[in-house]
Symmetry: C2
Subunit: 469 residues, 2 copies
C-alpha cells in the first residue's frame, strides 16, 4: 500500500462531539478499524487515513456537517462507492470523510417525464435495474456499476462502454441538489428538459470531483430501453487495421452503442486467467462492437452490415451474437480485462483519451516510450470515444527504477496531449493525474478553474489536494 | 421602439484611437447611422445605443480589444447574428459592441472524427449546409438559423425543434476558444470526445450570454445525417388531449426528432396571413411530429405507428408526409408562426419551459391569468421539451395599462415556476427575463452564479446588466 496522506488534520474531542451531534454517535466513525475501508478506493494501491467518517442520512445533515467544517477549517472528502480509479475519494489531507452511502434511495421514477430522481448513495446498477424493469434506460455504465454510486459517477463524470453512443454521465444529469462548503443547499435543475436561466451550474458540478460542492441528489434523464442489441467481435492482425476499422464503421453510417478495443497483452492475460486458449492468438488487437435498436430485425441488419465492414477492413474473423447468452459471453472477455491486467505486475493505469483518429498513433507512441524505458504495456478501452486505458507495468513484479517509471508515464501523458488528447478521459484527475494536468491545460485555463474553485469554496475545505492542486 | 439604455459610457478620442489601432479604422464604427443596426436584435421593440462597434477578424484582435477595455473599464457587449429574443446582445450600458460577424470561417469539417471547427460568426445554416453536403448532421436548429450565428447560439445555448430528440446547443459543443475580460485566451476542449481533466468550462461558457467570456471558436460534434424523415400533423379538439398525446407518443416507444405544438390563436393568425382557410377550425391545438431514421422503411413504420397513436389519443385527423415537398409544407405553418403572431398586436414573448407533463396545466394557467387581466395569448412551442412560447398581447394594438400587463406576465412566469419549470427554456435571460430570475432560482443559487461571474470577470465589463443583473 502506498500512503498518500499529505497532511493530517486531527479532530478534537469537541469537534467530534459536534459532528456526532449532527449524524448521531452510531454514524460518526473514529475507531481505526472502522476508518480503514474509508482510506482506500480502487486506484492501484493508494491509501490515506481520515480522522473520522460521518455518514449522514439527509441533505440537512450534510449541510450541518459542512457548516461545522467550514467554521473549524476541517478538510472534507466526500465519498460514495469508493470505486474511483484516480484516488479522488481518498482523504489525503486528513480531516473528515463524508460518506454518502446511507443516502441510497431512489426517490422517484417519473415515467411520463422520463426522469429518475435518486440520492447520491444509490448504487448505479440498482438504478439500472429499477428503470429497466419499467422499460426505461439510463445509459451510463461504468465498469464498476455493481459497486459504484451515483454521487461518485456525478463527481467524476463517469463514462463506460455505452458512452460511445450515449455520452458520459454529464449528458444525463438534468439537475442536482448539492451543498456548498458553506452549508448552503443548491438546487440546480429538475425535470424541465430545457432551462437556460443563468449559468449551467449542473454541468459545472458534474466532474468537479467533490471540490466545489457535495452532491446529494440527482435528476437523471431516461430514454426508452432499446428493444434489441447484438454484438460482433473481430480480431485484427495489426492495431492499425483495428483502428482503421473504427473509422470505417462510422463511415458506413453505423452508430454503435459500444465500440471497444483490447490489445494482445490484455487478451492473453484474460484468457490465461480463465485457463482458455486464445482464439487467433496472432491478433494484435480485437474490436467488440455492440449495436442496439428498436427491434431484432433492425439490429440484425446492422450487426450483419457491421460484420461485413469489419471483414472488408481486414478482420481475421467476425463473431456475431444476437442472443443474450452469447452476447454476455463475448462481453465477459472485455469486462474481465480491468481485473486481469492487475495480474501483470506492479502497474499504473493511465486513462488517456485522444481524437478517435489518433488511437493508432497513440498506441504506437505508448509502446515506443514504454519499450525505451524497459517497461511493458497492456491497452484496452473505448475505441469509439478514443479513450484508452493503458497499464504500464514492470514485467515480473520487480520494483525497478521508480524515477524511470515516472518519467515514462509522464512521457506517455505528454504523447496523448501532443495528439490533441487529454490526461483523463473518464476516471477524473483525482491525485493520479494532478501532476500532469498542466500538460493538458494552459496556465490561463488552470487559472480560470482555480478562480471558480475559490469562488465556490473560498476556504478550500472541499476535497483539498484533488483535481487542481 | 423602447430604449433600454441604462447608462452611457462615451468613448474618448484617445480610447477610440486605441480601439481603431487594433481592428483598423474601417472596422471601428462610430457614426450614428453605422451604429444603429447594432442597437437592435429580434426582441420585441427593444433598442440600446453603443458608443462604438468594433469588428475584429482574429482572436488576437478580440484579446487586444478586451485588454484595452479592461484597462479603461469600458463595457463590452458581444454580438453575433443579433437574432436573440431576450435582448442579450443589446449594449444597454453603452460602451463598445464587439461584433464577431467578420469571424465567419468554417475552419474544418473533420469527417473521420465527426467534428466541425468554426468561428463564432458563422451563420448556423451555412454550417448545416456544409456538413450536410458531406452526409453529416449538426442538429441544433434555432428558428432564426438563416440569420443567427454560432457564437450567439453558444452564448444563449440555443434550442430549436430538433432539441426534442437531439438536445440543445450545449450537447453539441466539444470545446471553445474564448477570451476572458482580461484578454486571456482559453481553449476549453477540442476533438477528444471524453475529457474530464478539470472543470467543464465549456459547459459553463455555453449559455453564459457573453457575461463570462467572448467565444471566438467552437468545436462542434457531428453525427451521420439521418437517412430519412417523415412528418405527421394532427389537430385536437382540446389542448388537454394534445398534451396527453405527447405522453402517449413517448409511451409507445417513439422518439420524435421534433414534437411541436401550436394553439388555435397561432393557427388562425398564421392561416389568415397566408389567406388560406383553416382546416379543422374548431381544433384548439395541433401537434406536428417529425420522425427520422436510417431509411424510408424505418421512418414509414414509425410515422404510421405515430399516426395511429395520435388518432387513438383523440386526434381529429392525422396528415402524414414522407416526401420532402409535403414535409416542408407541413412545417411551413409551424415555422411561420413566430413571425405571424407579431401581427396580433403589441406583445411580450415569454419563453417558458416546464416538465413535459405540465404543459396542459401551464397553458390553462396562462389563459386564466391573461383572461383575468383582459389580455389575450397565443402559444406555440416545443411540446416534446415542455418548452412553450407564450405571446401575451393586447387585442387591437392598444397600449393599455402597462402595470397590469407587467403584473400578468410576472404571474405567468410564476405559474411556470410553480409547475417545476423555468423562466426561459431556450431564449436566454438577457434583459427580458432578468427581473423574474429570482422566481426560478433561490438566493443561494443566484449567489453562486454571481460568485462565478465575479471570479471570471472581476471588473464586470462583459455584457453588463445581462443574465444575472
Amino acid at each position: 500500500m502506498r500512503d498518500l496522506t499529505e497532511a493530517r488534520r486531527p479532530l478534537s474531542p469537541e469537534e467530534l462531539a459536534a459532528l456526532a451531534a449532527v449524524v448521531g454517535e452510531a454514524h460518526l466513525l473514529v475507531a481505526r478499524d472502522d476508518l480503514e475501508p474509508y482510506g482506500r478506493d480502487w486506484t492501484e494501491d493508494f491509501r490515506a487515513e481520515p480522522a473520522a467518517v460521518a455518514r449522514p442520512r439527509t441533505t440537512s445533515e450534510v449541510s450541518s456537517l459542512l457548516k461545522l467544517c467550514s467554521e473549524r477549517r476541517i478538510p472534507v472528502t466526500p465519498q460514495a462507492g469508493r470505486t474511483g480509479l484516480s484516488g479522488g475519494a481518498l482523504p489525503i489531507r486528513g480531516g473528515l470523510v463524508l460518506s454518502l452511502e446511507r443516502m441510497s434511495s431512489i426517490l422517484e421514477i417519473d415515467e411520463a417525464n422520463l426522469v429518475a430522481v435518486a440520492e447520491a448513495g444509490v448504487v448505479t446498477q440498482e438504478l439500472h435495474e429499477a428503470v429497466e424493469a419499467r422499460g426505461l434506460y439510463y445509459p451510463p455504465d461504468p465498469a464498476s456499476r455493481a459497486s459504484c454510486r451515483l454521487g461518485g459517477n456525478v463527481a467524476e463524470n463517469a463514462g463506460g462502454p455505452h458512452a460511445t453512443k450515449y455520452g458520459v454521465t454529464s449528458k444525463w444529469v438534468m439537475g442536482l441538489e448539492a451543498v456548498l462548503a458553506s452549508g448552503e443547499v443548491l438546487l440546480t435543475g429538475g425535470k424541465t428538459r430545457k432551462d437556460v436561466a443563468g449559468y449551467d451550474l449542473t454541468s459545472l458540478l458534474v466532474g468537479s470531483e467533490g471540490t466545489l460542492a457535495v452532491v446529494t441528489k440527482a435528476w437523471l434523464r431516461l430514454i426508452p430501453k432499446p428493444g434489441a442489441a447484438a454484438v460482433v467481435v473481430a480480431p485484427f492482425a495489426t492495431l492499425e487495421e483495428a483502428a482503421a476499422a473504427v473509422a470505417a464503421i462510422s463511415r458506413a453510417g453505423l452508430v454503435p452503442a459500444a465500440l471497444e478495443i483490447v490489445d494482445r497483452p490484455c487478451v492473453d492475460v484474460s484468457f490465461r486467467k480463465k485457463g482458455l486458449p486464445v482464439p487467433f492468438p496472432e491478433a494484435e488487437a480485437r474490436l467488440l462492437v455492440e449495436l442496439d435498436g428498436a427491434d431484432d430485425a433492425e439490429v440484425e441488419r446492422d450487426v450483419t452490415r457491421c460484420g461485413e465492414v469489419l471483414l472488408e477492413a481486414g478482420a481475421l474473423d467476425a463473431v456475431l451474437a444476437t442472443d443474450e447468452a452469447k452476447r454476455r459471453e463475448l462481453w465477459e472477455v472485455r469486462r474481465g480485462i480491468g481485473e486481469a491486467v492487475r495480474e501483470l505486475g506492479s502497474s499504473s493505469e493511465l486513462d488517456l483519451a485522444v481524437p478517435r483518429t489518433e488511437l493508432a498513433p497513440l498506441v504506437r507512441g505508448v509502446r515506443r516510450i514504454a519499450a525505451e524505458a524497459g517497461l511493458a504495456t497492456a491497452c484496452f478501452g473505448h475505441a469509439g470515444d478514443g479513450n484508452l486505458h493503458v497499464h504500464v507495468y514492470r514485467e515480473g513484479r520487480g520494483e525497478g527504477d521508480e524515477a524511470r517509471f515516472e518519467e515514462a508515464t509522464r512521457a506517455i501523458y505528454a504523447e496523448a496531449c501532443r495528439l490533441g488528447g487529454t490526461v483523463t478521459g473518464e476516471h477524473g484527475v483525482g491525485v493520479a493525474a494532478r501532476g500532469v494536468l498542466a500538460l493538458r491545460h494552459s496556465p490561463a485555463v488552470l487559472a480560470a478553474m482555480r478562480a471558480v474553485k475559490a469562488a465556490l469554496d473560498p476556504l478550500g475545505i472541499l476535497n483539498p489536494g484533488k483535481a487542481l492542486a
